[in-house]
Symmetry: D2
Subunit: 358 residues, 4 copies
Amino acid sequence: MNFASDNIVGASAPVLQAIVQANAGAMAAYGNDAVSQRVRERFNEIFEREISVFFATTGTAANALALSSAVPPYGLCICHREAHVIDDECGAPEFFMHGAKLAGLPGVGAKLRAEDVAAYLTSLPKAPKQMPPKALSISQVSEGGLVYGLNELAALGQVCREHGLSFHMDGARFANALVALGCTPAEMTWKQGIDILSFGATKNGGLMAEAIVVFKPELAEALDYRSKRAGQIISKGRLVAAQFEGYFAEDHWLANARHANRMAKLLSEGLMQVPGVRFAWPTEANEVFPIIPQALDQALKAAGILYHPWTELSLPEAERVGETEVLIRLVASWATREEDVRKLLEIASSGVSRQAAE
Amino acid sequence: MNFASDNIVGASAPVLQAIVQANAGAMAAYGNDAVSQRVRERFNEIFEREISVFFATTGTAANALALSSAVPPYGLCICHREAHVIDDECGAPEFFMHGAKLAGLPGVGAKLRAEDVAAYLTSLPKAPKQMPPKALSISQVSEGGLVYGLNELAALGQVCREHGLSFHMDGARFANALVALGCTPAEMTWKQGIDILSFGATKNGGLMAEAIVVFKPELAEALDYRSKRAGQIISKGRLVAAQFEGYFAEDHWLANARHANRMAKLLSEGLMQVPGVRFAWPTEANEVFPIIPQALDQALKAAGILYHPWTELSLPEAERVGETEVLIRLVASWATREEDVRKLLEIASSGVSRQAAE
Amino acid sequence: MNFASDNIVGASAPVLQAIVQANAGAMAAYGNDAVSQRVRERFNEIFEREISVFFATTGTAANALALSSAVPPYGLCICHREAHVIDDECGAPEFFMHGAKLAGLPGVGAKLRAEDVAAYLTSLPKAPKQMPPKALSISQVSEGGLVYGLNELAALGQVCREHGLSFHMDGARFANALVALGCTPAEMTWKQGIDILSFGATKNGGLMAEAIVVFKPELAEALDYRSKRAGQIISKGRLVAAQFEGYFAEDHWLANARHANRMAKLLSEGLMQVPGVRFAWPTEANEVFPIIPQALDQALKAAGILYHPWTELSLPEAERVGETEVLIRLVASWATREEDVRKLLEIASSGVSRQAAE
Amino acid sequence: MNFASDNIVGASAPVLQAIVQANAGAMAAYGNDAVSQRVRERFNEIFEREISVFFATTGTAANALALSSAVPPYGLCICHREAHVIDDECGAPEFFMHGAKLAGLPGVGAKLRAEDVAAYLTSLPKAPKQMPPKALSISQVSEGGLVYGLNELAALGQVCREHGLSFHMDGARFANALVALGCTPAEMTWKQGIDILSFGATKNGGLMAEAIVVFKPELAEALDYRSKRAGQIISKGRLVAAQFEGYFAEDHWLANARHANRMAKLLSEGLMQVPGVRFAWPTEANEVFPIIPQALDQALKAAGILYHPWTELSLPEAERVGETEVLIRLVASWATREEDVRKLLEIASSGVSRQAAE
C-alpha cells in the first residue's frame, strides 16, 4: 500500500492507449505534428480563449521555464518558503532564470495570503541593491495540500497587478484543485489574474505530460527559444501531445482527480475517528496531513504502508507537533484503491486499540 | 516518401512494447525504479566496464548536460563549426555551461582532423583574456554523415590528453556509426579516449530515449544535480528506461542501424548511376549527401519526396556546388522501406531521362 | 555630522598620495606592473604565508568572485540571513555563481553560531532535489557590528571541514575586526580554517581598494579567468595596487581602524548614559546599534545628524523594539572626528533632558 | 619606447588633478554624489540630448553590461570575428548575457560592411533551433585601427532597424575616432542609429574611467540593477566621475586624441618611406599596422622598442603576409612623445640601410 506520492504508478489506460495509437506513421518532428496541433486547440477550448501552450517533460522544467519568461536575471520571484520551486527542484528556477532569486514567505499549509505578499513587497527597499520583484508563484494545490479559493486567487492577482508582478501558478495538481473548487479552468486561472500556468498531468494519469499555458501574450514570445535551449522540445512531439489527448478525452482527467480527492477524503474522515489523531490543516484535495501518535506511525510502517513524514514549518505556532507525535503526508491518486484506504484505516484503528490495550 | 530525417516516425515495435509493459504497477519515482536499475547494468555490459548512466529526454539536453560537466563557465569547448551543438540547439550548451564558449573549427564533411585541433589549441594565447580550452566535442556520425575511424578517434583522444581536454562524443547516431565500423561500443568510445558520450536511441527506434554515458568518473560527480536542475529527471523514470530495455533486447538496436545504413547504401549506389549526380563525400552511415542537378531536385520534389537541402560549408574548396546544382541530404532510418528507396531511384533515373529527352 | 556609513569620505592622505605617486611612467597593463607585484608580496608577509591575491574594484565583486570559486552553479552557500551577500548586492553572488543559492540562517546581531550551521547542514535531505552545500560565508565584522572571536571562527571552520564546505570571510571591515581582537591577520583567517577572504580597504582609508585573498590553492586556480570575465581586471592595475601600498605602509590601516573603533566606543559609552537608551547588542568594532526613544531620534535628526534606522530582524526575541523606540545604526570611520562624537552625545543628553522637562 | 598599447601610462595631469580635488569631504555613496551628478549633465551636453549614463570600471565591463541590456540569454549578437568583445574579454559578454552567443563575421581591418551583416541576417534559419539576432556590436575605432565613416555607420544602423537589432558601439577609442572624422559625438552615435555606447576614457588620459551611454531608453531601464549585480557600482563614485570631469574640461579629451592620432600619422608617413614596408590598411586613428621585413622587426626589437605582432586574419586575401614579413601593430597615445616617434623612424630607416649594406 503506497501513499507516498501520486507519481509512483504509470499512465492510466486511456493515456497509454493514446500513446500507442499516436505511435504509427511519419509525422513532422519537434511538435509540428498533427496531434500536437489538435491538443493545442483543445487547450484553447478548455481555457475558453486563445492561449499559448508549450509542452514540457517535467514539472520542474515547466515551472522553471515559466518563471524564466516572467523574471529577468536581476529580478525577484516571490513564493511560499516551502514551495516546490524553492525546495524541491535543485535550483532549476534559479538556473533557468539565470540567477534571479526566489524569496520564500511563510504561510499556514504552504499557502500565501495576499496581505502578507503585499506587506513584503511594500517593505522592500527601492534601491539598486535590492533585486526588483517581478513575479509571484503559487502552487495550486499548495505543497500542504490546500486549495486557494477563487477569492484568494483574485486577491493575490490584485496584489500582482498593483506591484507590476507576473502571476504564476504551479499546477502540478491542477485537476485536483479544479474539482475541489468545482469551477472551470478559466475561472481558476486567467479570470483571477493568473498570467502563466504550469499545467501538470503526470500525477493524474499521464506518464510524462506537462505543459506551460500562457495567458499574458508577452510571456509567450520567447518560450519556444527558451524551451529549445533547455532541451525541452522533444523530437517526436507526439509522445507528450498524445497523452494530453487521452487525458482530456471524455473528461478522463476530471474523473481521475475526483477519485483521488474522494480517496483522500475517505482517509481523512476515517483518521479523524482514530483517537490521538489530529490534522495539521483540512484535507481539501488529494493529500492528507495528519499528526499521529508515534505508536500509530510505527504500526502503519510495520504494516508496510508507504508514506513520508512532513515538516511542521507551516504549522500554526499554537499547534506544534508534540514529542510523541509525527506529522505525515498521505497522498491519494487516480490509482488509489478504496480497499487500500479501508485497510489503512483498519490498521490505524486497531493499531491504536492494541496500543490502548497494552 | 520521407527522407527528411530519422526522427519522423514513432518507436519501433519492441520499444513501444517495452513502454506498455513497464507501465503497470507502482514503482519508485525519479529513476529509482527496477527498470532503470536493470538498464544501467545493461549499459555496463554493453560498454564492458562500470560506467555512470544518466537518462535524458532530448539529444540537446544530453549534449548540453554532458558538456556542462566538462567545461566550466569560463572555459572553451571545441567542435566542428557545423556541429549540432553549435548550430542546431539554440544555444543549449552555452546555457547549460553558463556562458562557456563553443569554438567551431572547419573540416570536410563536418569531421575534425586531429592535426587541425592541435594547431588551433597551440595557437591560443595563454592569458586571462583567453578562455582556456576544456573539452572537445565531436559527432559520431558527423553532421555530414561521416564516421570517424578508430584511428582518427584515437588521434583526437591523444590531442585531448596532451592539452588537458575532456573528450565528448555526440552519439545521436551512435548505432549507425557502430555497425558501420563493425566494432564494439567500448572500442568506439573509452578505448579511444572518449570521456563522456551522448548516447542517442530516439533516431534509431526509440520514442524519446537518450542517455549520458560517463567514462571519466569525475565528470559524473554532479550530473544528478545538474540533471535535476535542468528538469531532466522525469518522475516516472520507467518511461525512458523501458525504451532502452526494448532497444537493447536481442540486439534490436544493431539490427535497426544495419537496416538504415543498408538503405543509405542502396540510395547512394543507385544515385551514383544517375548522370549528373556526384557526392559531397562518401556515404558511410545512414545519410547520403548527393550534389544533384536542379532539374532532378525539382523532379524529386514534384514526386512528393521529402528531404532537406544542405549547406556546402564543409565541402572541399575544389568541389563547390555549381549554379545548376543542389546539395541535398537524404536520411534513411530503421523504418525506411526498400521499396521507397527503389521508387526514389526510379524517379531519379527517369527524371534525368525525361530531362535529356526534352 | 555624518554617521551613516564608512564609505562617505574619500581616501586618507597616505592612500591618495600613493595613487598620485604611482601615476607616473609607463607600466605593464592588467596587473603585471611592479606596484601590483610588490603589493602581492606584501600580502604574503601580512598573512605569514604564500597566498594568492586578486584585486577587485568593489566589495560586491570581491564577494561574488570569491563565492563563485567555491560554489558550483548547482551548489548552496550558507550565510546569515542579513548578510551583505544575500541582502545588499542585488544578487551579485547568484549572478557570479550562475544561479547557485544562498541560504540565510538566523542569528543574533547577524552572527552565525557553529551549532546552528551544523544543525542546518544535518537537516538537509540527501537527494538530487536538494542543492548540495558547498560554502559558508560569514562577515567579519558582522552586519550587526559584532566580531567573531577566534574560538567561534575555529568552531565554524571545523563545521566546514566536517561537511566539505569552503569557508569564506567577507572582510569589508577586516581591519576593524582585527584590531578589536588584537590578533594577527593569519590568526583571524587561515589559522581558523578560512579558505578565501574578501579583504576590504575602501571603508578604512582606501578610495577603491578591494582584494580577494585565497588560502586554499584550488580556489585560486581559475580566479584570473573569472575576474577578467567579470570585467574586474582594470587595465591600469597600479590604481588599486598603489592604494594598498599606501594603506599598509607604517601600519596606516591598523591606525585607521583603531581610531574608528575608539570613536564607536566613545559613542557607545556616551549613549549608555542617556536615559531610555539601550543596545541591541554590544559595540565591538566601529558600529553602534542603540535602541533609542523616538523623541531622541527626532532630536538627533533635527540637529542634522545623518544615520540609518536598522532592522530588528536579528534582535533576540525578548528585546523587541517598543512602539516608542527606534533601532538605529551609527557608523564611525577613520575620518570621524572626536568633536563630532562629543557633539552628538551632547545633543542626545540635552534632547532627553528637554523631553523630560516638557 | 613603448608602442605596445595606449593603456601603459597613468592618468594625464588634468585627470589626476581632478581625482585629488574630488577626494575631500563627505559625499553620498554609490554615485549619488554631486560630482557624478555634474558629470551626467555634462554627458547630456556633449551628446546634445537627454541620455542615461552608467559608470563602469573597465571597458570589458562596459561592453558586457551594454550588450546584456540589449541581448536576452537566448539571443545572438553579431560582431566582427576579431572584435574585442569576442576575442579579448574571456567571455565577459557571454557571462553578462547569460549564455547568449556572439557570431563573428569577417571584414577587412576588423570592420563590418552593412551588406555582409544584412546577408548574414537573411541567411539565418527562422526556427527555434536558431538563436534570434538581437544586437550588432561594432568597435569605433575598429580592432584594426580603422574608423567607420558616418555613411557606413548609417548603413549599419539601417540594417539594425530593418532586422530589429539594437546597435552597440564599443568606443574604447571613441575620442580618436571622433577627431579623425571631425564630427560631433551626436553625429557619430545616435544620429546614425547607435542605441548604446561604451564610452572609454582610460586609454586617452583616464586612469580608470569608462561609461555606458544609452540612447534607446528601454536599454537603460535595468542597467542600474545589472551594474550593481555585476559589482560595478563603486561606493566612492566620485573616483570615476571626477576623472570624466577632468577629461572633458577645456576639451582636454579632444586635444589628447588629436595628439595620439597625429603621432600615428607621423609614424605611418615615416614608415611609408622605408623600403620593404607596406601597410595592412590605412592609418586612420592612433594605431598603425605596417607589414615589415623580418629584419626590420628584429632591428626594432633590438633597439628596445615595444609593440605586438598582429594577426593577418582580416587582411585581404591578395595581401597575405609573406614568409619574410611580419604584420605588427604600433599604438600611439596622448602620452607618446614626438621624439620617440622620430627615433623609431630613424632606427627603421637605418635598420633597412644596414640590412641593404650587408
